[in-house]
Amino acid sequence: MANIDWPKQGTASVLGTSPDRLDAIAKASGAAKYTYDIVPDKMLLARVLGCPLAHCKVKSIDVAPALKVPGVVAAEPMKNAGDEVLWEGDILAIVAGETEGAVAEGLKAIKLDLEPLEFYVDDANLEAAEKADRTRPAGRNVRTPDDVDDEDEYFEKLFKECERDGVVIEAEYGVNVITHMCLEPHGSTCVWEGDKLIVYHSTQNVSGTAPQFASPLGVAASDVTVICDYIGGGFGSKFQADEWSVAAARLAKSTGRPVKLMLDRATELKTAGNRPSGFIKVKVGADKNGVVKVWDSHHWGTNGPAGAPVSQAVIPYVFDPPNRRRVVTSISTNTGPARAWRAPNHPQGCAMSQTAYDDIARALGIDSYDVFLRNLPSVTNDKAEVYADQMKIAAKLMDWKAKWHPHGKGPERDGVVSGLGMAIHTWGGAAHNSSCTIKVHPDGGVEAILGSQDLGTGTRTVIAMVVAETLGLPVDAVKVSIGSSKYPASGPSGGSTTVGGVSESTRRGATAALNMLLAKVAPKLGVDADQLQAKNGRIEVIGNPSKSVSWKEACSLLGMNPIEAQGNFQRGQSENSLSSSGAAGVQMAEVEVDRETGVVRIKKFVAVQDMGLIINRKLATSQIHGSVIMGIAYALFEERIMDNKTGKFLNAELSDYKLPRLGDVGEVVVELYEPESEYNRGVVGLGEPPVIAPGAAISNAVCNALGVRVPVLPLTPARVLAALGKG
């Protein structure tokens, strides 16, 4: 009997190799069909109307004029009279029609009667928020020894000691709201077949979304099929059915025609998710070696109308000094509500606190590397040694020691200064629940079927590789079907849980299928099934490979019917876990700054990352490249710009929402950290971890270059010049 354990490191035939992703050619040549690309016959196009005001009460929404526009087929309001609208871009109505133009004219024709209410959108300004009565306490957490009575006095005493023997810094840091900016916006193509609904939905949650359509539409969940073969970006924002897609399904029903509703770019940015901001005021005390003894901070920010800011649990981030006080204030703003954004809380926590650790180094005039190293004993996870090892590797790849100079003390060449910065991160990444069906056909064909989705990490390829490894077959011998809610349920792709989850289920299912096959082959080879193994496209006797049959021949023994085996993984319940959680990584940035313009360029970026057992090295590497580049985006370029005057999200179009381009990315060096101890942990998710640290690492590098801190991300020329006193 084959068992499910992973092969020992170095003995796998498929795991840890670098095949191309299975769907690479289909995607690159435009053949892959995304939700936006599904074009059923007689399809209507639909768009929604976003609210023009940041805060208002709906008096009426009259869609009758829209229905008079030639080409408009259906329209309905999505808010009722009396409803309060809490942000600009919240959806007021939907219009479906024959062409994009007709729909645009229809939306413009809708008569709105809105009563403006007072709005507030400034999340950075705590004082203004207090004045506007938009703040509320959102947590206060203090750690001191048990015998401390007077907290203030105790902190005061600690800071005095640090002032005397080491250093105390007081600083402010921040990171602005960014949006997910999925290139394929949220939306669906909805097709009714009688009373059954098929929704082609751009989703990270194929298996979990059908009930969210069924309930508001008054149909059984079993009558809804959700399909997503390809998704054009999600990043945490596409777990739901969403009211606009439900409305599209409603219009499809009422018109008797398929309806495609994809959000327009501006609505996508305003309404379909963003990452909360975080701003912090902090006082930190450290000894003369830079070891932090006391942390006292107050941070605030917003996730939209609800206000919930970045969790206090990530302050300070990864490091956890013996004495700390962290106070959190929530700011309610009339802005679109946040959704999970890769590694929720962590990037902001990292950017708001590991910057302070770097400023300790700056204040003491010592190497940031040493300060990070000396504070490792305080990390919140059990990875102190892993970080130390990774730091060594990263420093070598960066040539840190040779390049290092004290903050602001590097040479200036033609007005350009360079600098180094680093940061570390952590993440869970435990496998989600997953079920799959593995079929082995009498003709030798192998299928893996599961209700998962490929966010771009290469889910299909990972599944095929695990099945191929298990069955001793080449990767291209495995046909993978994912992307339908009619397949065995697999978890939503969020929090770096997918690769672990689908590996768990497919390894189990494929092993079960193999054992069924071995039982058929055993009599033919005259041995017990547990003396057989699948290897190199054959079923062979262990220790006697000459005694074997080809895979095809083995399958021909099945007779008429294929083997069908299930693989199930339930987090916390399944034994023999093939996966684990807890990732660590170290990142280092080298930047150049034009001191006259404040323009920052990334020269080199090093990312050292553990992820347990690595399934596909090529995909893992490009995943980290991507994370780093997305990190460069929020470190240097992107931010939501809200207008205090009009309450509008001013840069909700791609031309104004700045993002890096191909030429803005310097050299990116990735080290996949996989010593035996890591490999033996099994699969750990990778999607979130490497996107966490770039903000802090780049901010620290800019600070090292300039000798002054640019406190708030993104580090635009305006902010850099302001920090230099030139703006």
């Binding site: 191309d20 690159a28 435009g30 062409t99 791609l654 031309s655 191909l662």
Partner: protein
């Protein structure tokens, strides 16, 4: 604006040849949209729309008859009438490159090009680079894993193809300077550079 003294000396305007014989005076007096139509049509200028009109589009070497309103973009027609969905709608303006197609040899955005503007022109979409024997650029994207979600990728592939057609021996630095018209959110740029370089190597 100040400082007007730098312009060249005026040579004085002489009425241009092309206007001879045209009823310029009449045009200057009337010219609400209506009457102009009649005059323009008398002169053989075909004014179409706002309703749909028929158009022949030559896409990937094949003529297609389509019905288009003047306001329809090439992207809308490619995707919803010809079901060629490789070019993607991403930005309202043309700043993202996701809808890049090659028209008469030039890489342009189908999202900001009117379909009628492509009358008589040769349109090449990403689909022409696929099929059973994909273009070298498509294969290089696969090899370098220069895609994640892949939504920007077809536009990028067309852009790389057009760029390399013009600069077959491009250096890494030229690639970094020359391929900034395409936006990727997943962060595949580093691998796109590798893919483009692979093609340069493969071609020499």
């Amino acid at each position: 604006m100040k400082d007007h003294d730098q312009g060249r000396g005026r040579s004085g305007f002489s009425r241009r040849e092309f206007l001879k014989g045209s009823s310029a005076a009449a045009a200057a007096t009337a010219l609400s949209v209506g009457p102009a139509v009649a005059r323009a049509e008398e002169k053989g200028t075909k004014l179409v729309g706002p309703g749909a009109t028929s158009l022949t589009l030559n896409v990937n070497g094949k003529d297609h008859q389509v019905q288009v309103e003047p306001r329809m973009t090439l992207l809308e027609v490619l995707r919803y009438q010809l079901k060629l969905t490789g070019a993607k709608p991403v930005a309202t303006d043309g700043s993202c490159g996701a809808a890049t197609v090659i028209v008469d040899g030039k890489p342009i955005s189908a999202a900001t090009t009117l379909a009628l503007d492509c009358k008589g022109k040769k349109i090449q979409t990403v689909e022409s680079l696929g099929g059973p024997e994909p273009d070298q650029v498509v294969k290089a994207f696969a090899k370098a894993d220069a895609q994640q979600c892949g939504f920007c990728t077809p536009g990028f592939v067309v852009a790389v193809r057009a760029f390399l057609d013009k600069h077959p021996n491009a250096t890494k630095e030229e690639i970094r300077q020359g391929l900034n018209g395409n936006l990727c959110r997943c962060g595949t740029y580093y691998d796109v550079i590798e893919a483009a370089l692979e093609c340069v190597k493969g071609g020499s």
